[in-house]
Amino acid sequence: MNIFLFLFFIIWLGGWWINIKISKFNDPNLPRFIVPSLFGMVILLMWELAVIGLQINPILLPAPSAIALKFSRSLDILWIDFVQTLIKGALSGYILGCGAAFLTAIAIDKFNFLKRGLLPLGNFISALPIVGMAPIFVMWFGFDWQSKCAIVVVMVYFPMLVNCVQGLELIDPNRQDLMRTYSASYTQTLIKLRLPSALPFIFNGLKICSTLALIGAIVAEFFGSPIKGMGFRISSEVGRFALDMVWAEIFVAAIAGCLFYGLIAIIEKRTTFWHPSQQK
């Protein structure tokens, strides 16, 4: 039994014990992030020690310290990849797709027949493996970011559409009647009542789509890309067994995903403060 594995178990049990102690405190003054961040730190430490202690080949699983080192040394490449995949591919597709879905939802909202036809179909299409269309889009729109943008548009369109339509539909009839007694026009009702009350659903759609956009843009690069981009880097570095670089890219993707999701959540909190789900 070597010293690293011994430390591994010590830290495991210690972290466990501390977490149980803290969670029993139940002190409202204690910041909420302490327990999960402690848990995360323990996991990272255990990962590091396990890699050293068991002498795991860095080809299989690099240690967190090695990944951090690689990350800090290749910031320029990571930045180029980030811009290529996430800004040019994912973000443009996300904005286009969600925007188009939102406008479609408002357009078909007036027609009950279209809504009844599109909702089940949209639900069904959301469950399909649309990522599989990536090779087709690469054939149609070329290797650069346009094809990634296109696949993201298709991936986010239907989940967003379904959420928007449902949000616009679920309205307290009393409130609608109230608007009618004010003799509000269709546009006024839409802007002042229906869109605000659909916001929780719209944000739900935006949140779901944020992860989809990330995945779509990266996976589409496996089918062809210029010599930059996160998906390209991941697949080529896997081929060279340089897994520390792969993990660095994953780290970037995870951070970007968290930040984007967080941003949407903050906007949601600011704009839907009146909704029961936002109140404690």
């Binding site: 999960p36 299989l60 089940p120 996976v219 991941i234 993707a253 968290c258």
Partner: protein, 289 residues
Amino acid sequence: MKTSYLANKFIPVSTIVILIGIFWYLVAVPMNSDKVSRQFKNLPTGEHILKCWSLKKPKLPTPHQIITEMVNTIFFKKISSKRSLVYHGWITLQATLAGFFLGTLLGILLALGIVHNKAMDLSVMPWVIASQTIPILAIAPMIIVVMNSVGVTGLLPKAIISMYLSFFPVVVGMVKGLRSPDQIQLDQMKTWSASSNQILWYLRFPSSLPFLFASLKVGVAASLVGAIVGELPSGAIAGLGARMLAGTYYGQTIMIWSALFAAAFIAAFLVFTIDFLQKITLKKMAIIR
């Protein structure tokens, strides 16, 4: 009941499907037009359009071409043959189901832990959410390659990707479901001096079932996506994902589309099966009528 189903669902949905089909044929003309003009010089317009719909390697194949290809590769090839879509579909389905099963199991266990143990609730739940920010599909090739080099090949690596994708909705849904009983109901159980095991079996678990089924539907769809993407990295020779990749290499667009359609059918089949089980179970439990 029957007429309302027709008017509310069947007619609108099939109208939209037909509209999409017409739109598809219309779009196929400009998309394939270049290729037709290159292959055949000076065709009259009518024949030109017909050729657009029946090219061998079109940019956008038409639905009837895809369906013909599917019928050929499903019914007129031996099931064990590598050209049979049934063979590829079965391989993908196996990985999907294995991953889905493991993911559901893991999800339920984690949810039980989270509901019963405060420390786990505080420490694990945020990480379950954080785990989903890692775009696992994006690192699927890495996982497959690494596992292959350790000697784990075949079904398992794909199943692990599927599991990773499908456990999340199950955890979130189950935690919500297990916590859905009211305080009044919990108090009632306490007055009967029920143990926490009994509360789990007689109150929490039954009331979590509607949530579980909703999560299972999301999870099984995610599993299928995971299995397909897991088949993409070079080296994979069987499965719908590998079929799509092969189609890309050889420019066989009809092959890609038929694999996509097959994936869509499998997804529909899986989701409807769970939907069916949900209806039966919830009816037996008198949650829905």
